[in-house]
């Protein structure tokens, strides 16, 4: 989207300041896993609003359907059965982009403006600028971006940035029948979550808590978890997600250092030539050969 919206916080592969004249409220989606019944209304609403239709898959014996996120599946219920303290629990997590404050995808992206972070916290892919390299996949600590097999563009949840821009809640939050998905100012969502967590603790979930991982600066999609001490229980939600050190090095210090080293080599060569002069064949040898030729 054009920078004219004046509410851009970050833009991929851009080293200068963004136009931020307009400050917007930081938003967040709060997913209360303890209130989710796994109806998949959110998945259906996402498909409908964004007008994307993943291929109909096959039943492989689990409830996850489709089995994984793809270019046309931007959110997915992941079902896990676990036994905690002698009780069988059915944990259902709505997976999708977490909209990190420090987005690894945006850091890794080489194409200016293909990934945008709005000042409200939403991280959006702009396919018009996407070149299809897949670097975003390496940057993401949550394994979210998917590259289409047909058009080679990257896709993921946009947190319905188009709806949010006109004051609407994301389609999934709108469709959720149990109120497990809430949307609003991040501050309000944190506050609301606290009440839910207190309630869960009263009901015996001693380790209930909010998932807003600080390794990526916090996220704009947060979970209320019954077992916040073990996020991995929820279909492998990372304990302490961070941008991979390899990606941080590659898209961090390596960039300016490598260019500086290459520039220094080029300029150094020129100055060597200017100061030392060329390495020429000696006059004596040339004369020697000329004499030989004359013989």
């Amino acid at each position: 989207m054009a920078l004219q919206s004046l509410d851009i916080a970050r833009r991929s592969a851009t080293t200068t300041e963004m136009p931020r004249a307009r400050e917007t409220t930081e938003v967040a989606k709060l997913i209360d896993v303890s209130a989710c019944i796994g109806c998949k209304a959110c998945q259906a609403a996402c498909m409908e609003w964004n007008d994307i239709r993943p291929e109909v898959g096959n039943n492989v014996g689990i409830y996850d359907n489709p089995q994984d996120l793809d270019d046309k599946t931007w959110t997915l219920m992941r079902f896990t059965e676990v036994e905690e303290e002698g009780r069988l629990e059915w944990l259902i997590r709505k997976d999708g982009c977490m909209h990190c404050t420090d987005p690894g995808c945006l850091k890794a992206c080489p194409s200016p403006g293909a990934i945008i972070q709005y000042s409200n916290g939403i991280v959006d892919f702009h396919q018009e600028n996407c070149i299809g390299c897949g670097y975003c996949v390496t940057g993401c600590p949550f394994d979210i971006p998917r590259i289409s097999k047909t058009d080679n563009k990257a896709y993921k949840c946009s947190l319905c940035s188009d709806r949010v821009a006109v004051g609407q809640a994301p389609a999934c939050a709108k469709a959720c029948p149990t109120g497990a998905i809430k949307f609003g100012a991040k501050e309000d969502m944190v506050h609301y979550a606290e009440a839910r967590i207190d309630d869960l603790k009263e009901r015996g979930y001693r380790n209930a808590g909010l998932y807003d991982p600080q390794g990526v600066g916090g996220t704009h999609v947060m979970y209320v978890l019954q077992h916040a001490d073990k996020p991995a229980l929820y279909a492998g939600l990372p304990q302490d997600p961070q941008i991979s050190p390899a990606v941080a090095l590659w898209k961090g210090v390596a960039k300016p250092l490598a260019l500086l080293a290459l520039g220094a080599t080029a300029v150094g060569s020129l100055f060597h030539y200017v100061m030392k002069g060329p390495n020429e064949v000696s006059k004596e040898l040339e004369e020697e050969m000329e004499k030989e030729d004359a013989q």
Partner: protein, 207 residues
């Protein structure tokens, strides 16, 4: 330039063609690769028809370069085996760079610096080809952990290789009478006697 029939043949036509195919591929790969590496250089993708085209073309050009580099490797590997005199030459390279080549040990067809460059370029190419395959998302699907390592290896090896090629090109410009060896194959006898005395003796039978 008037060509002397007694000039010495340094490279055959097919060796030269091979070298320049690799060279052209290298330039195209460096320009498109640097575009993906640093935002300041991203406009270089326009030389290839835009970002998406640069992304599509880069690996295919890489395949061509890899093939011809491998052929070139087998052409020149034997001539580049490091020997005692080469390490001696390298230990004195500071003087050479300073402009004094009088104390340099006698060299065959290639000096220690050229040989070291050959092996470093080979190492870089091996790393770049291996990591490049892992990164080629439209063709392959490797685990993300492996791809993360590959992107760093690819960038580091490529940046180092571009630096090596700067040195390679500058050495050819600095040492007058060298570039013609790769353009039309011959060098003067005086050039050979000064820079590669051992090779000169081998080629002419003279001292």
């Amino acid at each position: 330039m008037i060509r002397n029939p007694r000039d010495l043949q340094r490279y055959t036509a097919s060796e030269r063609a091979n070298h320049w195919i690799v060279g052209i591929c290298f330039i195209l790969l460096a320009l498109s690769g640097l575009a993906f590496f640093h935002p300041a250089l991203f406009p270089l993708v326009n030389l290839f028809g835009g970002g998406t085209w640069a992304r599509i073309l880069h690996p295919w050009i890489g395949v061509v370069m890899a093939l011809f580099f491998i052929i070139m490797f087998f052409r020149f590997a034997c001539l580049n085996l490091m020997r005692g005199a080469d390490w001696d030459w390298l230990s004195k390279v500071g003087k050479m760079v300073d402009g004094n080549d009088h104390d340099m040990p006698e060299q065959g067809k290639y000096n220690g610096g050229q040989k070291l460059l050959f092996w470093l370029l080979t190492l870089c190419m091996a790393l770049i080809i291996g990591s490049g395959v892992v990164m080629w998302r439209s063709q392959f699907d490797f685990p993300v952990g492996l791809v993360r390592t590959a992107v760093v290896v690819h960038a580091a090896a490529a940046a180092f290789m571009i630096g090596l090629i700067f040195v390679h090109v500058y050495a050819a410009i600095w040492t007058r009478g060298t570039i013609r060896a790769m353009l039309y194959g011959t060098v003067t006898r005086a050039w050979a006697k000064q820079h590669h005395r051992g090779w000169y003796r081998q080629m002419t039978g003279k001292n």
